[in-house]
Amino acid sequence: MNRFAPVVSFAAALAAWQLAVWGLHVPSYLVPGPLAIGGAFLADPGGLLRALLATLMVTAASLAAACFAGVLLACAMAANPWARALIKPWAVILQVTPVVAVAPLIVVWVGNPFAAMVLCATIVAFFPVFANTAAGLEAAPPELLDLFRLSGAGRWQEIWLLRLPAALPYFLAGLRVSGGLALVGAVVAEFVTGAGGAASGLAFRILEAGYRLQVPRMFACLALLSAAGLAINAALGAVSSAVLARRS
């Protein structure tokens, strides 16, 4: 029964929304009802789905880059106190600097719009996976660390055979947060870079629809973004559960 509760509540909310729009005679250029939004999507499904795909490509690329950089830097910090002292302040600076503020610079410096958007989204998605992995690498059981020392293990053996496997649940928790942030970062990057054309993402389509006062189409784009966020969260949650179940 609990499995259907979200579906039922979501359907009820949509129905209430539609009834409110009808009952209060709200014009669709202010708040469109779900039926108008569905209609806007059906008017151009190919265009909107292509835009969604473009946004998802930026999301996936930035999530992969954030994972690679986050795990690599967290491992470097675990391996060497000097690296820790060097990396940690920069990671915090990266976390607290609003990507909107640095995005124009990134666009100028990088040049290629896709690469610029991936870099912006990576900055947004980087910190959770980095901070969680770093915390996980520090959370290896002290008795096992003693055992590694007694066996004469090297620093990289300790990281590869003990600290990284111990950090896996932490990494997966960070990955789930970063997955959502990568999507947010991709949308922000699209807004800031203003990358248009045939390969433009959903953010550009929202801007475009806004300029044309096509409010139902804006909502259709938002609905697609919400669905994509839910799908990313669910997919990463499923991957996390499967990986953790497999190793326990």
Partner: protein
């Protein structure tokens, strides 16, 4: 094998864990460190392992200090890697030194876990996990086995079984064993020598050598050992 000379260990908070600890560990000993909780038994074990350093005193080895693989350590908890199988856990010290892991399989069989090689720790009972931990410690054939209250968290039945197995394993392997416990009965059953420690700051208050082997837990030798150790601990409380 090892002479601990006037060892002093103070923690950064000012608490003195060990004060003027002075005793010898002889090759082939099954030495039990017996004392109340918090008397510094585990600290002493970590010093012997080289995992901690004393503020004063020194550890004088008769031969060269023991190197990687010469010391096996069994902790109070089995401390297995939950993502690794029983065989992978038992083979860990060998793998870390780039050695053949086959002895770990044989050692798992020796501790009664043949057929459980591919099972992960979460699927094993507490006693079985401790058996894997013992197999891991013994697989590299260490010269010195250090055990820090390994059976404290187990039920009485499992503890008795493991004590009997450990005594047989120690005899077979011939490795010197230092075993920490606060149980008089465990000390009486396992030890060839018992060092009784005083409450904090820990000192070696008395040592008792037992040459006559214990057969069963209820035999006269066992009862006599329990009486000696009980009196020794009572004397510590009184003094």
């Amino acid at each position: 094998m090892l002479h601990l000379e006037n060892i002093v260990r103070r923690y950064p908070n000012g608490v003195t864990a060990l004060e003027a600890v002075d005793f010898r560990i002889e090759t082939g000993d099954f030495l039990v460190l017996l004392g109340p909780s918090g008397c510094g038994k585990s600290t002493l074990l970590r010093l012997i392992a080289g995992l901690d350093q004393p503020q004063q005193g020194r550890l004088a080895w008769d031969s060269a200090p023991l190197g990687p693989g010469d010391i096996g350590f069994v902790f109070q908890d089995p401390t297995l890697m939950p993502w690794a199988t029983a065989a992978e856990n038992a083979a860990l010290p060998l793998r870390l030194r780039g050695l053949d892991p086959t002895p770990a399989h044989a050692m798992l069989a020796r501790v009664g876990l043949a057929g459980f090689e591919t099972v992960r720790p979460s699927k094993l009972s507490g006693g079985m996990r401790m058996r894997v931990s013992i197999a891991r410690a013994l697989a590299p054939r260490p010269r010195l086995l250090l055990m820090d209250e390994p059976f404290a968290a187990l039920d009485e039945f499992t503890r008795h079984l493991l004590q009997e197995d450990l005594r047989a394993l120690a005899k077979e392997s011939g490795c010197t064993t230092v075993f920490v416990t606060h149980s008089i009965y465990e000390a009486a059953f396992l030890a060839t020598r018992v060092a009784v420690m005083s409450p904090r700051p820990g000192r070696i208050a008395a040592t008792h050598g037992f040459t006559e082997p214990v057969g069963e837990r209820l035999d006269a030798t066992f009862a006599a050992r329990v009486a000696i150790l009980t009196q020794s601990l009572a004397a510590q409380r009184a003094g």
